[in-house]
Symmetry: C2
Subunit: 240 residues, 2 copies
């Protein structure tokens, strides 16, 4: 994890933090259903790392041999397209992980990971995670489960985005947002800036802005502030 990077901006914070931090592992779905002893064992294998807002966890092109699990905070995962544009892949929240490829082959990162706020991540090296998987098949199973789910999502998203119009992409995104956060009112708060949202949906901020206004004109949503949106007609949205 030595960064001989030459970026003028910022780097890994050097403060690798406390070893074997406590709650690092406990929030992670794939580690559920383990006995206390197993938990302890895992905690000993992992190291925690503290990132400040804007810090980079890894960059495209760097060697990848570590699994990162977010303990608290948020990590932005994005790629740079051939045409030099940034495209947001996902935002990792507490309990989610990245670096799955690292676990199986010598490979290089193809994306960038950057802390959106102060964030604590747990790190486990490929070697150690391997041992873990072989020792506890249920962890392997849980990880498989998670990857299968992600694959399905990725495919669903790819399908939707490649063909659908921007308007439908936005509509889908809004509907998913309702489902995600258990909303009593059907009001959602965008989890990112519109710039990021545009990048995530494969379009531009301008278009997002216009389409949202359009949806508002059609009476499907209500923009209460730049980040807060109230869904007026979820059914209508689905048919966009």
């Amino acid at each position: 994890m030595n960064h001989e990077t030459s970026s003028p901006k910022e780097q890994h914070t050097k403060n690798a933090g406390h070893h074997s931090s406590m709650n690092c592992v406990s929030k992670v779905p794939i580690f559920n259903h383990l006995s206390p002893e197993q938990m302890t064992e895992i905690k000993e294998l992992s190291q925690s790392l503290v990132l400040e807002k804007g810090d980079t966890l890894y960059r495209s092109g760097e060697e990848s041999d570590t699994l990162y699990i977010v303990n608290s905070g948020r990590i932005r995962i994005y790629r740079i397209t051939e045409s030099g544009k940034e495209r947001l892949l996902k935002i990792l929240h507490s309990g989610e992980f990245t670096g799955e490829m690292a676990l199986f082959t010598e490979s290089l990162h193809e994306s960038y990971a950057e802390a959106m706020e102060k964030t604590v991540v747990c790190t486990i090296t490929r070697k150690k995670f391997h041992e873990l998987l072989l020792k506890y098949p249920t962890i392997a199973l849980a990880t498989l489960h998670e990857l299968a789910y992600r694959l399905k999502s990725a495919e669903a998203q790819a399908t939707r985005f490649v063909t659908a119009k921007v308007e439908s992409r936005i509509a889908s995104f809004l509907i998913e947002s309702i489902n995600d956060a258990d909303n009593p009112s059907s009001e959602i708060v965008l989890p990112m800036s519109k710039k990021d949202l545009a990048s995530y949906l494969g379009t531009t901020p301008e278009t997002i802005s216009r389409k949202l206004s359009q949806l508002e004109d059609e009476g499907l949503i209500l923009q209460k502030s730049s980040r807060r949106i109230k869904i007026l007609d979820a059914e209508g949205l689905k048919n966009v």
Copy 2:
């Protein structure tokens, strides 16, 4: 695997074929490195199924509790988008598998799988595969490896397709095709009709046709026949 489908077209071929077919399992990467006894055990868990051209393996909305491994032949996996258009996700060749989600949760298929020619698939039910994974951690590891790889590919493709112009998507596809088939000459044969290719790349046959002609005008490729394309300037293609 009872199909109470009411489609007038065609269904599963009923001839569920020979039980525990021989080479079904032997071609599958995730089953490599196993002892002969283990192989035998696996063979006993699986059943083979013969599909004729055009037969459906599964449809969107059907319950999914089986892993399918292609022994010989090809399977077209596609989705229908909200707007009712077909979008090709991938083509499974010998040794590849589908149904990964089936393995972990009660879930429904969201895609369609259809034989492109006479095809033999091996089937393993969720329950049996689970037992297998728990018993042989190395299989779990190999499966994880495969899924991680697929996830990476899916993400890469999603990124590329969402932002890139059709022209670049085609160029990328051509370049990958060179790499895939070890080509002495840099001549490739499209693995599918242009109609399917269009669906795969998220565009229309018309646009494919036009863009290919354009690439030819630019001296990057040569269309020898409707399916055969010679790459004249791979470097140039990469910069499209």
